[in-house]
């Protein structure tokens, strides 16, 4: 019986370490992101003195709950090798739609499903454009973005205040112990992260997402349901945008058609910083969560410093640049092997 020798890891490392390294190579960018997050928190603490407090850490989750939800949906789409630029606008649209419906007396048990379905429908339309009309994901979701933004203005041109108790409850503190607190929005966001991670790792649908990102043609030849899976990825992103709309409404206490401009880019940045390859096929929801926290920490630190918030964007931009370059190096290295 012939056995094939595999010689590729550096000499000197034991086979266990070597096996672990090749097995877990795709986790390296995630660990890098985690390293950056820890470095940021430590640097913040040593520079600002009172940065690592329960209050700051708790509000990290509270302030970024909507971004976390968007990032989970975006991770699905980017893993297939696509992109969804519509999420910020869909968030604004569903939020203003919800606020309008609530202000007209529609009960929140109806409004929330309507917001989610609204997101799902826009996601389905974008997915259909990509799948059946061969439109580039960039263009299709750009169209979705304009459509959703337009719809938002159609619903209302001005801000609508939300007074519905259910929605407002989402932003109340469930408990408050020694500065630590948690709101229902944070719980929802963490649940979405957990659900996303489980679906991607443990379901056929999830693995098909990775397969499509690896090589769509091969996935098709393997007999995997490529069409259905890709459509569903955009629907998931849409639903997440709708849910983010709910969470964001609670966070702001109002709906406003100009909300969420540029949020799609923050989301993509967080996902990429979290180690997901823009070319698809490699990445984790957990990484995206870390990416969101990196983003949130930079934002918090800059407001602590009292500096201009534009520095958040500049720092994120620089980090993104570094990460994309690092990813390219990793990809180039693995393809050279």
């Amino acid at each position: 019986m012939s056995t094939v020798k595999v010689v590729d890891a550096p000499l000197g490392l034991g086979p266990r370490v070597r096996g672990l390294l090749t097995r877990r190579a795709s986790w390296i960018p995630v660990l890098a992101a985690l390293g950056i997050l820890i470095a940021l928190l430590v640097a913040g603490q040593s520079y600002l003195g009172n940065f690592l407090t329960p209050r700051v850490l708790s509000s990290l989750l509270l302030d970024n709950a909507y971004l976390l939800i968007l990032a989970v949906g975006m991770t699905f789409v980017i893993l297939t090798g696509g992109i969804d630029l519509s999420v910020g606008a869909v968030l604004a649209f569903t939020a203003i739609l919800g606020a309008r419906l609530l202000s007209e007396g529609v009960p929140s048990v109806l409004v929330i499903p309507v917001m989610l379905i609204g997101g799902a429908v826009i996601g389905l339309l974008i997915g259909s454009l990509i799948q059946f009309f061969d439109v580039q994901p960039f263009i299709a979701s750009l169209a979705g973005m304009f459509a959703a933004r337009g719809l938002a203005f159609l619903v209302s041109l001005s801000s609508i205040k939300i007074e519905d108790p259910t929605i407002l409850w989402l932003q109340t503190k469930l408990f408050y112990v020694e500065g630590w607190f948690l709101a229902p929005t944070g719980v929802i966001a963490l649940l979405v992260v957990a659900a996303g991670a489980l679906v991607l790792h443990f379901t056929r649908f999830g693995r098909t997402i990775y397969a499509i990102g690896g090589n769509e043609q091969s996935a098709r030849l393997m007999g995997l349901p490529v069409v259905r899976t890709k459509l569903l990825a955009y629907v998931i992103s849409g639903v997440c945008a709708g849910l983010a709309g709910v969470v964001f409404s609670a966070y702001q206490g109002a709906g406003y058609p100009l909300n969420g401009i540029g949020t799609e880019l923050d989301t993509i940045a967080a996902v990429v910083i979290g180690g997901t390859l823009l070319t698809g096929g490699s990445g984790y929801v957990i990484g995206s969560m870390i990416g969101v926290f990196v983003y949130g920490t930079i934002k918090a630190a800059i407001s602590f410093l009292g500096a201009e918030q534009s520095w958040t964007r500049i720092t994120i931009g620089a980090l993104l640049l570094i990460f994309v370059v690092v990813q390219r190096v990793i990809v180039a290295r693995s393809s050279r092997r």
């Binding site: 094939v4 595999v6 010689v7 090749t22 056929r204 990775y210 007999g223 096929g281």
Partner: protein, 504 residues
């Protein structure tokens, strides 16, 4: 032979048209259970098209496919798989970003309460791999393994489930002798189980070793179906080509009397990857064959000599001058051109036309500003199409639709258009059929006669022996012997190539 009354697969009047071309013209084809069947034909004879129809990748425009006597429609690969038709395509079509286990079991993963059971999945994958004599970590990413291993994984994927028909399209082109023997053992096992196996290969020896029945296609039409035992090789080749086999023999080269051979390209003490301080000289006007097993360092040296990969240490010397080759481009500027063994990934650009593919390198050398006019490009393409006999003879054909042999010729045309002095060809005849192979070999000899130095890499020792004037034998990252071809016979070459390292 187990000749059942009803064939498992029966194709009648299969016709497929691509635009105006008829790729397959009312072909009848059948396969019996417990039999290995080979589909033979030159490039463009319609083999791939028939296989694609059979595996649901390309529906028939006309004709029917019946399984066990019942007509079925195979609209997609899923349909075909549901009917028990599995396939391993010529170009490995797995997912490098996923684990080995997933590549084997994707789409039918073991599940427990709806969730994928990773532990069982790895165990099942391990088992399927061990059946193939392969012990690798099923959780490792596929992309971290060599092409040969990936090929075996593809076969494991195809075989590890209840199947009736197995289609193997050039399964052995990246396997070494041991691995091929292993594959044949598996094929025989499956045959015992009553599976109908379609084995497509351009290695005549392998076809004669394993196949019971042969169907020959030519120009998209059926030539006939024969029992292997009753068909002489020479007749088979004649049927495939439709012409006399005389034209097939490689014109033997007059040994060129060179007073003092001048080295045109040298590697001095080159190390990189598996290569361990290799010294080598390529002489003017010679065909230097690189013989050796997969992973012996033959490709690595060719890549180092042509600026694709930078040596970790050592130097490259061109015409007596030490040169640095940071990029393939710098090598091309010095008259050194390399053609990769991985034709589809590192060679042909499938979406572009033949003309664009041929003009690519010369355009790159000129730079973007000095654009080749369309007229000039057409002339260039037309002259190479004629010179190399590329089919279809249309400069505007999309390169991806050409057969493997013709794609290889397009690649050669691209490099030859640069008028290089040293040409490094890595597996130029892999996956292409006898006729095209001989054409490529003849071309190599012609080029050398005209003073070009050619490095010819091939896993087929006979081929190296036939084409090369001198042979460098690689083993374990070193050149273990360099000898004139006359001094080596197939057997002795094989002995050097496969000798275990510890014997030295």
């Amino acid at each position: 032979m187990n000749e059942a009354a009803v064939p498992i697969v029966e194709v009648r009047g299969a016709t497929v048209r691509f635009a105006s071309d008829t790729a397959l013209d009312s072909v009848d084809f059948r396969m019996f259970g417990g039999e290995v069947h080979s589909l033979m034909g030159e490039n463009g004879a319609g083999k791939s098209t028939l296989i694609r129809a059979l595996t649901g990748a390309r529906p028939l425009d006309d004709g029917t496919i019946a399984l066990d006597g019942r007509t079925v429609s195979l609209g997609s690969p899923v349909d075909a798989q549901r009917h028990g038709i599995r396939s391993v395509y010529q170009e490995i079509d797995l997912l490098p970003n996923l684990s080995v286990a997933e590549n084997i079991l994707l789409g039918r993963e073991p599940r427990r309460r709806g969730a994928i059971d990773w532990r069982r999945m790895r165990a099942e994958a391990s088992e399927a791999l061990l059946d193939l004599g392969l012990s690798i970590d099923p959780a490792s990413p596929l992309g971290s393994h060599s092409l040969a291993v990936q090929q075996l994984v593809a076969i494991a994927r195809a075989t590890s489930s209840d199947m009736r028909v197995l289609v193997l399209d050039e399964p052995t082109s990246s396997l070494d002798a041991d691995e091929v023997a292993e594959l044949f053992r598996i094929i025989r096992e499956l045959k015992e189980r009553g599976v109908a196996i379609l084995f497509v290969s351009h290695f005549l020896d392998q076809v004669y070793e394993i196949c019971d029945r042969i169907t020959v296609l030519r120009d998209g039409a059926l030539v006939g179906e024969y029992l292997t035992d009753e068909l002489l090789r020479i007749d088979l080749v004649q049927k495939m080509l439709g012409k006399d086999a005389e034209a097939l023999t490689v014109r033997s080269r007059e040994p060129v009397e060179v007073n003092a051979p001048v080295p045109v390209l040298e590697a001095r003490n080159v190390s990189r990857g598996v290569l361990r301080s290799v010294d080598l000289e390529v002489m003017e006007g010679e065909v230097l064959g690189f013989a050796g097993l997969l992973g012996s360092g033959r490709t690595e040296l060719a890549r180092a000599l042509s600026g694709i990969d930078r040596p970790d240490s050592g130097s490259i010397v061109r015409q007596g001058r030490r040169v640095s080759l940071p990029t393939p481009r710098s090598a091309i500027a010095l008259g050194i051109a390399y053609s990769s063994e991985n034709r589809t990934a590192e060679g042909i650009i499938g979406q572009l036309t033949v003309r664009e593919n041929i003009a690519l390198a010369i355009q790159a050398e000129r730079g973007v500003v000095r654009r080749l006019s369309l007229r000039r490009q057409r002339e260039l393409a037309a002259s190479w199409i004629e010179a190399l006999g590329i089919r279809p003879a249309s400069p505007e054909a999309i390169a991806g639709t050409l057969s493997g042999g013709n794609q290889q010729k397009v690649l050669l045309a691209r490099l030859l258009a640069l008028a290089p002095q040293v040409l490094l060809l890595d597996e130029p005849t892999r996956g292409i059929d006898v006729g095209a192979k001989v054409e490529v070999q003849n071309l190599v000899n012609e080029l050398a006669d005209n003073g070009m130095s050619v490095v010819f890499i091939s896993s087929e020792l006979e081929e190296v022996l036939r084409v090369a004037t001198r042979i460098a034998v690689f083993r374990g990252g070193q050149v273990v012997a360099i000898q004139p071809t006359e001094a080596l016979a197939s057997r002795s070459l094989l002995a050097i190539v496969t000798q275990p390292d510890d014997a030295w």
